[in-house]
Amino acid sequence: MALDEILLWTLLFLPLLAAAIITLFTSRRRRLSAGISIAAVVLSFLLALVVFAGFQADQPREYALNWLSLGDFAVQFGIRLDSLSMLMLLVVTGVAAVIHVYSWGYLAGDPGFSRFFTGLSLFTFSMLGIVAANNFIQLFICWELVGCSSYLLIGFWYDRPAAADAGLKAFVTTRIGDFGFLLGILTVWAALGSLNFAALQERALAQPGLITTAAGLLIFCGAAGKSAQFPLHVWLPDAMEGPTPVSALIHAATMVAAGVYMLCRVLFLLNAPALQVIAWVGAFTALLTAIIATQQNDIKRILAYSTLSQLGYMVLAVGLGGATPAMFHLTTHAFFKALLFLGAGSVILALHHEQDIWKMGGLRQKLPVTFWTFLAGTLALAGVWPLSGFFSKDSILALAAERNHALLALALLTALLTSFYMFRLVLVVFFTNHRSAAAGRAVETPPVMVIPLRLLAIPTVAAGFLGIEYFVARQFEPQAAARLSAWGQLVFPFQHAPLAALSGLAAAGLGFLAAYQLYAGAKKEPLESRLGAFGRAVQNRFYFDELYAATVIRAHEFLARAADWMDRWLIAGLGVRGTHGTTELLGRALRLFQTGNVQTYAFLFALGLAVVLWLALR
């Protein structure tokens, strides 16, 4: 076994080992449990760095064990190391390590401390499993496992009904997507005879037609569930009931991006019609959720809708055939969105679990580190040069400008709205004066939470010109990929597609101006009175939850009711009881003839004789 292989297996299984050790042995010792969990993920990150040091992009490597093998149903558990998974390994372990440390501070004193870290470790393992997967079934296994850890961590405060409900909703909604995903996997397997990505890539090219489109769209169902794309987007905002580090790690940086990662992994299976659908779904989700984000008042929900919108961006990029821009945006988004969530967590904790932005205000001086890092995240998300988000967003805009102008228009509108709602958030939370007593007394959170903010701020600022795009592009467009100096990357967007870059910047600027106009010094939501019915619809998230409750859920309730009624009254009632009753009735009727009474027998005998005589003499 090569050293490389040992390192990879170790970094993959360390978090699982940590979860097992905590569950079995140390769950009573809170600090030790957290320590084990943090040590495992930090070590995984370091190992990923070591692997990265010896990484050669032109030689993808694969290590695999045989998990199950029955005829042509052969499943491996393996590690596929190429640019795509190398990048994700670094992102996942890096962001996870920072958030693990932050959680130590955020959840200090919670009775479920050990349980929380078990969940985080389990999640980290499952997410790494998705990243490393070399075949569909392993991907699906880890896909389900991240769903499970997401469920457990959303419902971490399980005695709060809202949290418990949110966990259930998240699990079931993503399961609906997984239903399509599994059918897609089965279709691919039946058509191409393999589950292994490398083998599929060789065979996929020869398979045009309807079945490929169907398989592609079914696989996209899985991504739509996990990455919360329309129409399965409803679970993600509710998932904010989980502790904030969970929102940062699972519901912003990594798990929700798994759908995008998976689509990039199997891009070769998606044909033009499927990609078309994917692009439009992504663009529509991006715009729809950006609109909703503008009228939310819960700091975490604003960020959640923003995540949905940015995921839409990534899906749009995939739909345009651009795995490189999608992965680039995924990476920068993981940094700045994790930063924004952790910053929001810092605000929430400083205000003793207040999440309404209209009860905050003036926190700029009170939480200086939080403010500056949050501002960095905001600028990156809004797409301001030279922060990381500008470059990744620009690469998507440039792609859209090249391939589809209608989608470009949607993307630009989304960019404008993004800048608008983020500056609204910053202006309301950090500027003007405090609007509640809690906001007046707030003090900066402890170093164990502030240091992670500073750490994440570094890639938030710099990830745009570190060559990430080139790193991924070598796998997807090996001919076109060109290595640029840091300065070259800084100016590249303006040389490559100046129109897209400038219009992106203009959208961000317009968004900022609009937000400044409306929210600088605002005491309450100024748009509420002006927008009327549309505003109410936006505030109520376009009534999607209500719509689903009235249709999908009611339909299933009806089926369940009908089945239950049938079971109770037809099968158990008429069928079983009926048989039982008929038998009993028959028994009673027969008993009448066997009373043991001589007169009755004599009467029956006489009657019978009379009948026989009548028949004979007629």
């Binding site: 199950l68 496992l145 418990a164 259930l168 239903f179 397997w189 299933h556 069928g575």
Partner: protein
């Protein structure tokens, strides 16, 4: 003597021994029962580990033993395992031990209860290890009759008596149909033998006519099907399990219920392959009754034990689907699900019994927030629910996904609908029940509940969970053993080139 005889013999011998123990020696009674089932389980583990290296007979059976009995009728005591029943014997022995562990809840007429439980355990193990139709059936009846008595005497709930009547009549009817089928099969085959390997070999050389197959196969299918709660013959199961004392429910739902499925695999499929092919389509559609319909019914249940009961009925759909697909992948998956569901059903009913002991109710509306008071039991319940909705890592997932891959090519529509039942409906009713029972605020009246204290109380649940996880992480422990024998003895496939052992066995013939 074969290790199998000891595995079967320990519980039965202990039952006999207990007859002579005075009823007030409660510790002794319990100790004897625990020792016997423990030794039986340990031997089963040993058997399972040694299985790959053990010498195989001409029909691939290992650890065989013969004792002639009624030679004129061709009946003999013949035990042996191949890949198909090795896992079932292991699972049954572990479930029997776990069931005996949780029997501490029985406080009344303990001696009789333990005797019946041991007879039941011995009967289950005997049925799975027997390779003679007569003993196969006899052992099953050995296990079935104590079930009725235990529900009738130690059962719980207001509908106990009705449940006892219903389950007795229903299951007796099922066994009777199966018996008719088996006798007809014996007579039609004309081999003058009850020995399964002999019959299989005989019927492969001289297959039954289409008419005879068409008559006997449905008798076996529905007779065995009733025993496994095949839709629409399933209504005995939720009521029976809700009324049964938990050790009985564990042993029945976990182990004994698989008898019918095992009978289909061991007898009906290999001996009547043509009829199996013509009935497969019907069986596939019936299994949707389990997978989808019973899932919907489970969504509407208000009592946690009824949710568990319907869920256990629903899970049988995977096995039927695997059997109906009639190919190596599907049937192997079906056997994996049989083993996995055995552990899972025992776990679920054991945990429910633990809660019921303290609360006296399993009405979901009455409960809530129990996780705070019962961290161990609650966590085990959550894990059981996850295993039940097919989460990877548990053995059920490995079996279920295999079944779907097996069913995809021959039975696509059924597989699609079954996937919906497995992935969505299953998750809804199980996690909703978890939401109602374990999550949310804790009602004041339950603040006195106590969790499983000490390793002794945790052991049976930990053991069952560990079994689910081991086979979930390493499904090849099962599939490698199962697949070769499914190919050779159930489906009579030509040996696959990559399965070397089959080739050598074939060569020996």
């Amino acid at each position: 003597m074969s290790i199998l005889t000891y595995i079967i013999g320990w519980p039965l011998a202990a039952a006999l021994a207990l007859v002579f123990v005075p009823r007030n020696y409660r510790v002794v009674i319990r100790a004897v029962a625990l020792l016997a089932t423990f030794v039986s389980a340990a031997l089963a583990v040993k058997m399972f580990i040694q299985f790959p290296g053990a010498p195989a007979g001409p029909d691939h059976y290992r650890f065989e033993a013969f004792v002639p009995w009624a030679a004129s009728l061709g009946i003999q005591y013949h035990v042996g395992v191949d890949g198909i029943n090795a896992g079932l014997v292991l699972m049954s022995a572990i479930v029997a031990f776990a069931a005996t562990c949780v029997a501490w809840e029985i406080r009344d007429r303990e001696k009789e209860f333990y005797i019946l439980l041991l007879i039941m355990a011995g009967g289950v193990l005997g049925a799975f290890a027997s390779l003679d139709i007569f003993f196969f059936y006899l052992f099953h009846e050995f296990a079935l009759i104590p079930t009725f008595i235990m529900i009738g005497v130690w059962g719980r709930g207001g509908r106990k008596n009705y449940a006892t009547y219903q389950i007795t009549i229903y299951l007796s009817l099922g066994s009777l149909l199966a018996l008719l089928g088996l006798i007809a099969l014996y007579l039609e085959a004309g081999a003058a033998s009850f020995d399964i390997p002999v019959l299989v070999r005989h019927l492969r050389e001289q297959p039954l006519g289409a008419g005879a197959q068409g008559l006997i196969f449905p008798l076996l299918l529905f007779g065995f099907g009733i025993l496994v709660s095949l839709w629409p013959f399933h209504t005995w199961a939720p009521l029976g399990y809700a009324s049964a004392p938990s050790p009985t429910a564990m042993l029945h739902a976990g182990a004994l219920k698989k008898f019918g499925l095992y009978g289909l695999l061991r007898i009906a499929l290999p001996m009547m392959p043509e009829a199996a092919r013509s009935w497969a389509g019907i069986l596939a559609w019936l299994c949707l009754g389990n997978l989808l319909y019973c899932g919907w019914v489970a969504m509407r249940q208000k009592d946690f034990n009824w949710v568990a009961g319907y869920s256990s009925v629903a899970h049988m759909g995977f096995v039927f689907l695997g059997i109906a697909s009639l190919n190596l992948i599907g049937v192997t998956g079906a056997v994996v699900v049989m083993v996995a569901h055995g552990f899972l059903a025992a776990l679920v009913f054991g945990l429910n019994g633990f809660v019921y002991q303290q609360t006296g109710t399993l009405e979901i509306r009455e409960l809530g927030g129990l996780l705070r008071r019962l961290p161990f039991i609650g966590a085990a319940m959550v894990m059981a629910a996850f295993a039940g909705c097919g989460l990877p890592g548990f053995a059920n997932f490995a079996g279920e996904i295999t079944v779907f891959f097996g069913a995809w090519k021959p039975l696509r529509v059924v597989a699609i609908l079954g996937c919906w039942g497995a992935l969505v409906v299953g998750a809804v009713y199980l996690l909703r029940a978890i939401r109602g029972v374990l999550q949310g605020p804790l009602p004041g009246k339950w603040s006195v509940l106590t969790d499983a204290a000490g390793w002794w109380r945790k052991l049976p649940f930990a053991l069952l969970l560990a079994s689910l996880l081991v086979f979930g992480f390493f499904p090849r422990l099962l599939t490698d053993r199962i697949a070769r024998d499914v190919a050779a003895s159930v489906l009579n496939l030509p040996p696959a080139p990559d399965h070397a052992p089959v080739e050598t066995a074939q060569g020996r013939r």
